[in-house]
Amino acid sequence: MRITRTPRATRYTAVAGVLLAAAALLPACGTGPGASSGDGKSLRVQIPTGPMASAMQQVGKDFEKANPGTKVTFEGVDSNSSRGPNAALLSSTATPDIGYLQRSTGVWSTLLKNRQLTQIDDVWTAAGLANKYSKSQTAYYTTDGHHYGVLYEELLIAPIYYNKAAFAKAGIPEPAEHQIASAADFEAMVGKLKTAGYQGFGVGGSSPFDLGHTLDALLPTAVTAEQYAAMLTNFKPGSPTDVKYTDPGFVKVLQTIQDWQRKGIYQKGMLGMDTTQAQALFTSGKLAMLQGGNYSYADLKAAKPSFDIGWFLLPSLTPGRKTPFDAFNGDTLVIPAKAANPALAKKFLQFFMTDKYQVSVVAGGGSLPVFSSIRPSSLSNLGDLVQQQFELSQSVGLVNIWDSTVPSTLGQAFAVPVLQKLVAGKLSPQQAAQQFQTALENLRSGKVSGASD
């Protein structure tokens, strides 16, 4: 049989096509800033997509009213972009005048190291922020005596929401003071819930943060306060090395996380489910408990589940100790160095960082105000459960979340894949612990970046 021969030109074209298509992989690593110039009247503000976004529109209108002739526009940034790719935008000449980032991610350290953030000591002074934040928050946002960003909200991590009807059907009393005495009690609860026809404990295992939050919740209950404090800082070169991730406390946390998979505590397919999917399973009534944050409650309510919702904290891994709340202090607004209208941006930050907007915008969006002067009892718009969480956090204690305080090369971005492998049974708790220790040592030695900002 005679076949039409492929013309040489066609072959060359095809080869060229292959190379060009393959080469399409490469430019993904480049960045291309645009150009902008400031008119002193228009302000572009980047905000995270979510419940607070609509409330910020009102702040914009108020600012325009207070400053005639100005125009404020808001630009949303999603959670994934804000953890990395947003750095390219914020360092370009196309940057918004005010940028959003998470203080714990590499975006902050990269921008700061490359002098891409405007110093805003004057905003801090004018808004009196040093007196309004807690000491640890002020310290966290002070670099070489100066300030480069404002923390505008606090998040409470890993309250476990539960289906009250499911608990009643399974004969489980509502947890007193939102605490569970031990891991064994928690596992027994799940057993009863499964017998009653529900899936147990929901975690968005495929999301880039949720499994890390389980570790965050258990860790402060498995190690001493001194060890926990060391774990938040010992990535810095020169800090003491006596606390290790291979120590029994950390290994116990890993062991528990793995055991819960083996014992069927998590929902079916946990590692293949993201937070949205786990949330949908919970609100549909099939899942009895869901790990979330204070920020989840608004979404849960919006889904209008057919049952009442309660909440508690994961059990302590040390008998007799209460589980503290984890706090995430990282949602930050900054003024990029290449912002077109830095003066107007400073004016806006000063305008926004007031008690008024902490209550109407931050608390109104389901997040917690960061000013220590605002008492939970004075808030009527937090939502009943979040108000309870806020109040309990004052009594059981508040610790900084581990996986978002240490650099992402040891924390969230590194930890979640390791935890996924642990849960999947590909790593033993000891092997996983060793990987964390190696990551710590790599940070301390400068082999990987992120140990200093």
Partner: protein, 304 residues
């Protein structure tokens, strides 16, 4: 000859071909290629030779990133994952695409409708397809498990939660999104085969399978090579489907090389290392593409 004022030397000199015009004509294309292809590639290679967090200048570190890459078990795992994904995707996409194209070409009942239906997944954005299938694969609530449950095969399979099944689920979705494209291209090639050839073979008693393997496939071999090459490149670059479905997990079990490049560059802010991985990925994709083309070229020549 001299009487006409023409010397032998001038007679022998070949006529000079005008060179300026072609150069002017190809200049814009060359400029665009240099600007949008050559420069980014060169810049990526440059970044791969240094340390860069995305801002400012690149600190030259020689081949340090490449040395690190050789000893990085994650990279090795990603190469294996990428090759598995590539093989699974390409084999099934081309084979199924070929069978579907043959069915339409043979004008099975409802061929026109099937042509549209089978092509539909191609026009669905990969992120949408990824999210749809991610939900469909969920235990109990997902469509896939509901169907399996209805035929007695159980509805509790956690396809995306296990590192042993998640890669196959992603391959399935990649095949689903690409097969329509392969089908359409191969159908075009099949339509160029004169119907008389098939008619003659039928009269000689050759069955449908015989006609497919002895007439259709040999006649479309060059196009089969092209589509296999394209599918190879697509499968190596299938970032969208993987990221929408699993984000490379559980663990790193579905982390093909582009996903790893994304994590290294954008999440770890280690653009130098990410670029080094991208360069190596490009070389692998290029090598596979050229290899596939060569294989099909040889087959085409052998079939003559």
């Amino acid at each position: 000859m001299a009487a006409h004022g023409v010397t032998p030397a001038t007679l022998q000199r070949p006529r000079r071909r005008p060179r300026t015009f072609p150069l002017v004509m190809i200049a814009p294309a060359m400029l665009l290629l240099a600007l949008f292809i050559a420069y980014p590639i060169a810049e990526s290679v440059h970044i791969s030779l240094g340390s860069w967090d995305g801002i400012g200048s690149v600190a030259y570190r020689g081949l340090a990133n490449y040395r690190r890459l050789v000893h990085d078990s994650l990279v090795r795992q990603s190469v294996v994952t990428s090759l598995t994904f590539f093989l699974g995707t390409v084999v099934f996409t081309v084979a199924i695409g070929c069978l579907l194209a043959n069915a339409i070409s043979r004008e099975i009942p409802g061929a026109r409708i099937f042509k549209v239906v089978w092509f539909l997944p191609v026009i669905i954005p990969v992120s949408v397809a990824g999210i749809f299938w991610s939900n469909a694969f969920q235990p109990t609530t997902g469509v896939v498990n509901s169907v399996l449950g209805s035929v007695g095969l159980g509805d509790g399979h956690a396809w995306l939660a296990s590192s042993s099944t998640a890669p196959y689920a992603t391959i399935f979705v990649a095949v689903w999104t690409q097969t329509g494209y392969a089908m359409l291209i191969l159908l075009g090639a099949m339509d160029t085969i004169p119907p008389e050839v098939h008619e003659a073979a039928t009269l000689d008693g050759v069955g449908a399978a015989g006609r497919l393997f002895r007439i259709t496939l040999p006649n479309i071999l060059p196009m089969l090579g092209t589509i296999t090459t394209l599918m190879s490149v697509f499968s190596f670059n299938a970032f969208g489907v993987i990221y929408a479905m699993t984000r490379g997990g559980p663990g790193n079990s579905t982390s093909i090389l582009p996903v790893l490049v994304y994590k290294q560059s954008f999440l770890d802010q280690d653009y130098g290392y990410g670029s080094a991985t991208a360069v190596v990925t490009t070389l692998i994709v290029g090598a596979i593409g050229i290899l596939v083309l060569q294989v099909f070229r040889q087959r085409s020549l052998d079939a003559r």
